[in-house]
């Protein structure tokens, strides 16, 4: 276990399903936090509702498990009132992109100094696998029994467009890269957004011909393409395979930020 001092061991067993990728993302995050040398008493984890949002309940710091979609608004209050505290937000695709979409774009616009990690499993996992704004077109879920008929949100591109200072995307397969990206986010003044695509074997994989956890992780790995390569292919007019998504840093910049630690 990475960073054992940061876990509430009196909370075990946790609620995550066998094969869930959320634990990997929590581990990557805590490894990055520990690398920063942050103190537990100066760090606050905030979350909304959903599987992702149970993460702060397992971490031994002050933690605010809030209402569905509103984590970033709560976190804005914490950070603006106490800029000396480090604020990290865990959220999910339903929490961030559906019910919390407005708070997402405005938090990026304000560029409040915090790190937001979205565990994007492409599904509402906690409620039993309903289609979300990131469910890929054609994918089967309990509310898209004939295949998802809506286009999906690209969360990282949304954060770039809305103004976040640092945006990166990796997956639960890319453990080292994800850890580095979180660390880069923690170091960035302003809002850092890291999309971590992850597997939900229980509610996504088994409906979409990805019946094993390795199959799901392989699917993430094989569809991820480095931003540079993707841009090169596009520039050269070469085809990009269906279902490809970019990974890596999407933006690093230094726009004015709010609530930066004095």
């Amino acid at each position: 276990m990475i960073a054992p001092d940061w876990f509430r061991d009196d909370r075990l067993p946790h609620i995550y399903c066998t094969g869930c990728g959320n634990g990997t993302i929590i581990n990557c995050t805590l490894a990055a936090v520990e690398e920063m040398g942050w103190k537990r008493d100066e760090t606050v984890f905030v979350s909304g509702i959903g599987c992702s949002s149970r993460a702060p309940g397992y971490i031994l710091t002050d933690s605010l498990h809030t209402t569905h979609g509103r984590a970033l608004a709560f976190a804005t209050g914490v950070k603006m009132a106490r800029p000396d505290l480090h604020v990290v937000v865990f959220t999910g695709d339903g929490d961030l992109a559906a019910i919390g979409g407005n708070h997402f774009i405005h938090a990026c616009r304000r560029n409040v100094d915090m790190t937001v990690i979205c565990m994007n499993n492409h599904i509402y996992g906690m409620t039993g696998g309903q289609g979300s704004p990131t469910t890929p077109p054609g994918a089967i879920s309990t509310t898209t029994p004939y295949g998802m008929s809506e286009p999906a949100f690209d969360l990282a591109e949304l954060a770039v467009a809305a103004g976040a200072n640092y945006v990166a995307r990796w997956t639960s397969y890319h453990v080292k890269e994800l850890t580095k990206a979180v660390a880069a986010g923690l170091q960035t003044p302003g809002l850092a957004f890291i999309e971590a695509r992850t597997q939900c074997p229980t509610n996504y994989g088994r409906h979409n011909k990805l019946r094993t956890v390795p199959a799901m992780i392989e699917h993430l790995r094989s569809h991820a393409m480095l931003v540079a390569k993707y841009n090169r292919l596009c520039a050269e007019g070469k085809p990009v395979p269906d279902g490809t998504f970019t990974v890596g840093d999407l933006v690093r910049r230094n726009r004015p930020a709010m609530g930066v630690r004095p």
């Binding site: 509430r8 008493d41 002050d62």
Partner: protein, 360 residues
């Protein structure tokens, strides 16, 4: 000074250092005053993207130990309901000002109403209890805002200033004290769990950054703050305590005025209709007419009604179709006559006299 300005001045005097809001008529002068003055007082003003975010930011700020507030009106108040329930469940001290206007829906943005009196008590889902104050003057916009912060901190409960367009926009002379003494939450004792309450049902408060690693959740939780969502006893214990810590202190929280306790016909009011009743009583000096004026409506002080031992009839003018009158009816055997008025204007003295004559 204008009522809304007095509310903001009261908040500043009480040590409010965080305001999160969204512009809405007829409450905007509160936000505007806070935007101008809070930064100079070392505080934070932030205009959020909507009212859901406003109350969320206020709750987040309150968990850092700051005195925090928001101000809104009907439509914004409706949007805040879910997170008000979160503040109740997480025992977050904060102040919510509602400058009430005519509803439902967008209704009458520039006209007064008292239409949200039951919403502030029952508007969020589940069982709970909160505190609501009702000013009837610009001075009380100041005084009761200060008091709201003290009650919110003492009971660790979201506390409402249920004002309206009339007191919000009225201009009157105000006396502002040189200093206001704040009653902050009792700190969490060493060795106590974050949601372990004393005899008064109120746990000590350990704001973020104080080294206690508090987990705060809107889920049903145990004394450690950890989710415990399926044990019937855990839920029963928590929710009954949240209600009891407010309801059992009703006499302590109560704030009301009694005029002519021997009267046979008694007006019961809160907020601006009390001003019309005062005019009627000036115009018709008569010991048989009494007046109970509530400055705290929730938790409802039913014992205040007993002060009128000779009462034969209660008359209740409200700027709604009869909301608090149900609470009065519930607690007395005598007839309670509702005098509802909607549309945005106060009852005239003549209207009240007419009802008075019909029922005595």
């Amino acid at each position: 000074m204008q009522g809304n300005t007095a509310c903001a001045e009261g908040a500043l005097a009480a040590g409010c250092r965080f305001f999160g809001g969204y512009p809405i008529t007829p409450s905007t002068e509160i936000a505007e005053t806070m935007a101008r003055k809070l930064p100079k007082a070392g505080g934070v003003f932030i205009s959020m993207e909507d009212e859901l975010a406003s109350i969320a930011a206020v709750i987040g700020a309150a968990w850092t130990g700051a005195r925090a507030m928001t101000a809104t009106s009907g439509p914004g108040f409706s949007l805040m309901m879910e997170n008000i329930g979160y503040a109740v469940m997480t025992e977050t001290p904060c102040v919510i000002v509602n400058i009430q206007r005519g509803g439902p829906s967008t209704g009458q943005p520039t006209r007064a109403a008292q239409g949200d009196m039951l919403q502030c008590r029952f508007g969020s889902h589940g069982d709970y209890s909160t505190i609501a104050l009702t000013p009837n003057s610009v001075q009380e916009m100041f005084d009761l805002t200060v008091k709201a912060f003290d009650l919110a901190d003492r009971f660790r409960v979201p506390t409402f200033l249920m004002a309206d367009e009339i007191v919000g926009h009225m201009r009157e002379r105000v006396t502002i004290p040189d200093a206001v003494e704040a009653e902050r939450p009792r700190p969490l004792a060493d060795g106590s769990l974050p949601f372990e309450a004393g005899d008064d049902g109120i746990p000590g408060f350990a704001p973020f950054g104080s080294g206690r690693s508090v987990h705060v959740t809107g889920l049903t939780h145990d004394e450690r703050g950890y989710p415990d969502t399926t044990d019937p006893e855990a839920h029963d214990r928590l929710v009954r305590r949240l209600v009891a810590k407010v309801e059992s202190a009703r006499r302590d929280i109560a704030d009301y005025e009694v005029v002519n306790p021997d009267a046979e016909t008694v007006f019961v009011t809160y907020g601006p209709p009390s001003r019309t009743v005062e005019q009627v009583m000036r115009d018709h000096p008569d010991d048989s007419i009494g007046h109970l004026r509530l400055r705290v409506v929730w938790p409802f002080p039913e014992f205040a009604l007993q002060e009128f031992s000779n009462a034969k009839t209660f008359l209740m003018p409200e700027l709604n179709m009869g909301q608090m009158v149900r609470e009065v009816q519930r607690h007395v055997d005598q007839p309670v006559i509702s005098i509802p008025k909607i549309g945005g204007e106060l009852h005239t003295p003549a209207e009240l006299v007419q009802t008075l004559e019909a029922h005595r």
